[in-house]
């Protein structure tokens, strides 16, 4: 079973997939996304998008997101290792003791606590985003981050899409991307810092356990033991209540002051006493080194996750997806449609014949009054109508009577006036077929569609009637629309 993509992978891959998905017909996307959404129980929007992603594209797992995720893991590991090595090295240097002189607690605190607090303050400068006046410092701090370097190199060489490549760009134009990059960089730096402190702490414990260390304090500054004792009490305040043994008392402070000029300067008999500083140094390292970094790492992890989610949800393609998922699906179209296939029939296939003489007429479906029919035949067809019958509008027995009447004289041309605006129905075709049967094959039948009023027959009407007459396949039945 394939593993679920992480939030980060979804944030990279979902928008890229949705971009390509724009070539899928919209109606299909709407139906698909709504149907998937119906199977997803209510949850926050990020969870819904990720569940949708699992259903919509189960095969699209190994995208740029997985590659960038591996890079993130790699960078995190490298940062952790680098932090650990540095922590061990610094601790070894800070606790270095060859027996000639005690470990100077002042230098130790400066290295393991003081420097770290300064770096912590510098790190905190990155948290509020772009601060006027601090921009260049922030840029330096950012540019120094090896994670940002690694991401830049990776984006250039890994052929990641522009969307994916710009994610780790701290100078991105997209605010959500900037937030993401900031917390990602902080996450990496705090990973290194936590590992630094852990390694330093473990190294210190090992040194305390497996070797004998003597601690003292020494400074050029004019510091009275009483004042140093007060400072030490203040530093130890956080753990004083539950670990009183880790708080050096005034006597210890006074006894452990040394001067290098005095070649040791501390009575040898007090070595056991001088060793009593170690709980204080370890507690200081935990309290002022490890704990703030752990808190910052936790904050960075939480904020990074939120920024990753925001990056996903602020993408306009994801916004559109959620809209499709959350809107009721309305469908109104049919599943299938009629094939629209009408063979082309040339309009000029039956040439207009010159007609002179008499004719008999049939008015179909009350297409025009009797007088108007005579006039129309004279003016447009050049034929004089001898007699007129009607059919098509009343009962079928009227049609039969008309056929009986027209059958009597088989010598005259027959004009069938039809309403040009009405479609030629199959019952007209039936009628014309029977008419042909009754009058025989030699009589010319002129189908004459007439307009409703003082207008010419339109091209659309003419084409419609031409097609109907052509379908009769009767060489002596032809169309006359009166068109010039």
């Amino acid at each position: 079973m394939p593993r679920d993509p992480t939030l980060f992978e979804s944030t990279i891959d979902v928008p890229v997939w949705l971009e390509a998905d724009q070539h899928t017909p919209y109606a299909e996307r709407v139906r698909r996304d709504r149907e998937i959404a119906r199977d997803i129980s209510r949850g926050d929007r990020i969870a819904r998008v990720r569940l949708w992603w699992r259903s919509a594209a189960p095969g699209a797992r190994e995208g740029a997101g997985a590659r960038l995720q591996r890079l993130r893991t790699f960078v995190t590991t490298v940062m952790g290792i680098a932090g650990s090595i540095t922590g061990v090295a610094v601790a070894l240097a800070a606790f270095a003791y060859d027996g000639s002189q005690p470990v100077n607690v002042v230098r130790l605190l400066a290295l393991l606590v003081g420097v770290q607090l300064v770096l912590l303050v510098l790190t905190l400068l990155l948290l509020p985003g772009r601060v006027p006046g601090l921009r260049h410092i922030q840029e330096v701090l950012t540019a120094l981050n090896p994670g940002a370097w690694a991401a830049g190199v990776y984006a250039r060489l890994s052929h990641a899409s522009p969307d994916a490549a710009r994610l780790l760009n701290l100078r991105a134009q997209r605010p959500a991307a900037v937030r993401f990059a900031k917390w990602q960089v902080l996450y990496w730096s705090q990973t290194a810092a936590v590992m630094f402190n852990l390694a330093a702490l473990i190294t210190a414990i090992m040194l305390v356990t497996f070797s004998d260390l003597a601690f003292g304090w020494s400074t050029t500054l004019d510091a009275e033991p009483a004042a140093v004792s007060r400072i030490v009490q203040s530093i130890a305040w956080p753990w004083a209540s539950f670990a009183p043994l880790a708080v050096p008392n005034a006597e210890l402070v006074e006894q452990s002051q040394f001067f290098r000029l005095e070649r040791g300067g501390i009575p040898a008999g007090s070595s056991r006493t001088l060793g009593a500083w170690w709980p204080f140094t370890l507690f200081a390292l935990v309290t002022y080194g490890l704990l703030p970094r752990l808190l910052l790492l936790a904050l960075a992890a939480v904020r990074l996750r939120a920024a990753t989610g925001a990056l996903l949800l602020e993408d306009s393609r994801v916004v559109a997806l959620l809209d499709r998922m959350e809107s009721p699906l309305i469908e109104t179209a049919a599943a299938q449609h009629d094939e629209q296939s009408f063979p082309e029939i040339g309009l000029g296939t039956s040439a207009r014949r010159p007609m002179i003489g008499n004719a008999r007429a049939l008015i179909w479906e009350e297409s025009l009054p009797t007088d108007a029919a005579r006039d129309y035949a004279r003016r447009h067809l050049g034929l004089e109508i001898l007699d007129i019958v009607e059919a098509g509008a009343g009962r079928l027995n009227v049609d039969r009577a008309a056929l009986d009447h027209l059958e009597i004289d088989r010598s005259q041309t027959l004009i069938v006036f039809t309403p040009a605006w009405e479609p030629p129905l199959l019952e007209l075709r039936d009628f014309l077929a029977e008419l042909r049967q009754r009058v025989g094959p030699d009589v010319s039948i002129v189908v004459a569609p007439v307009p409703d009023g003082p207008r010419a027959v339109t091209e659309v009407e003419r084409a419609m009637w031409h097609r109907a007459v052509a379908q009769l396949a009767d060489p002596r039945t032809y169309l006359e629309t009166g068109a010039a």
Binding site: Y26, H136, P419, P423, D452, M464, A468
Partner: protein, 463 residues
Amino acid sequence: MNRPRLAIVGHPNKGKSSFVATFAEDDAVAISPHPGTTTQARTYPMRLDGEVLYELIDTPGFQRAREVLAWLEAHDRGAGARGAVVAEFLTAHANDPRFHDECQLLTPIVEGAGILYIVDGSRPYGRQYEADMEILRWTGRPRMALINMISAGDHIDQWRSALGQYFSIVRVFDAVRADFGKRIELLRAFGAIDERWAVPLNRAADALVADRQRRAQRVAGEIADLLITALTTTVIVPLSGRSVDDEARAHAEGRAKLREEVRRREVLSRRTVHEIYHHTGLEARESAAAYLVEDVFSARSFSVFGMSQTQLALTGAASGAVVGSAVDVALGGASLLLGAGIGAALGAFGTLTGAQGLAKVRVLGLPLGGYELRVGPITDPNVPWVLLGRALLHAKLVAERNHSRREELIVDAQAGGHLADMIDAARRRRLDVTFRRLRGGRELVADEREALLAEIATLIDAR
């Protein structure tokens, strides 16, 4: 089951399929001036999340109505059995090709569908329609007549008077030109055909109205994204040399790429708007606007690993300072931080000079850096207004277009050019601030995008 089912019936070529295409928003419905285009009864269900709220059934037209009526009259057993006689006709002629169309149109009615009889009110009434109407009366099903207006004539009164003999409800409805409001009004009116249908039809109408509003929102989002993309897009062209000619060539290439990118995005946006309104087959013609990317921001830059010279210098300086600080520590502070200072200066200088060589290094066939010309974003302040105006005009035309229309959609590219002069000053100012922000190279946060979307949605409503 009280699901409303409406059979759309009538003579051929009276707009039955146009009516269905408009109501079902389906531009794949076959519509042509040739009678007999519709050969099968076709159901168009309106589904809300899969639940069918009503069904429209497009049917072929009557072809031999008088013959059918003659058969019915010949088998008449009194008014109470007329519906059964119609059913018997269907049974008797189920396999008769002569009455294929009549069987197709009468079957859904016999199965319980209501009747929507459509005529063309722009052409005169004729007695030949009486056979159709008489057959429909024989079915005994609830029915409504719709007077469609296919062309310019007006015979509505004549039709009203004739239809009134057979139908208790007669309405005029232009299937090709009716706007959305009229469609919804008519949909609710179908509830009068059968009172049990009122609830599902009103529910369907409410859902369609809500969906229409969502579509307008989606279109607003699409237009907002088009503007955001068009105003923030930049293209990077590698510079082969540093001469004026090289730069001019790269600038022309960059502008062409930028123009193509904006055009591509605009075409995609138009297509999405078509799809939102279910006009998937719609062909739109729009005159091109070549002037769009004449005024663009362009800047030459140098980069390695995507880092600018300033970033490289800062990074080098910081790295040098760290190394220098180590020297200071080693000397126990005797150097008075001189090591850090010198290290920073050397680091910055070294990084910048070394970067020139590093840029030429190729890894996996790709140079690590070099000089390039960034072209964009578009700086012409009129461009967003022109894009917005054109997009709004296009959206309006598409939204108002019925699915029974088959002609090409023509959008005048210049028509939206004066949008800025037509909207109120406060809105213009707000939009202008957003456009300037985008031109300045800053993307919008979600709230800002929502605000832009709301402004565009208001403009869509107003037009």
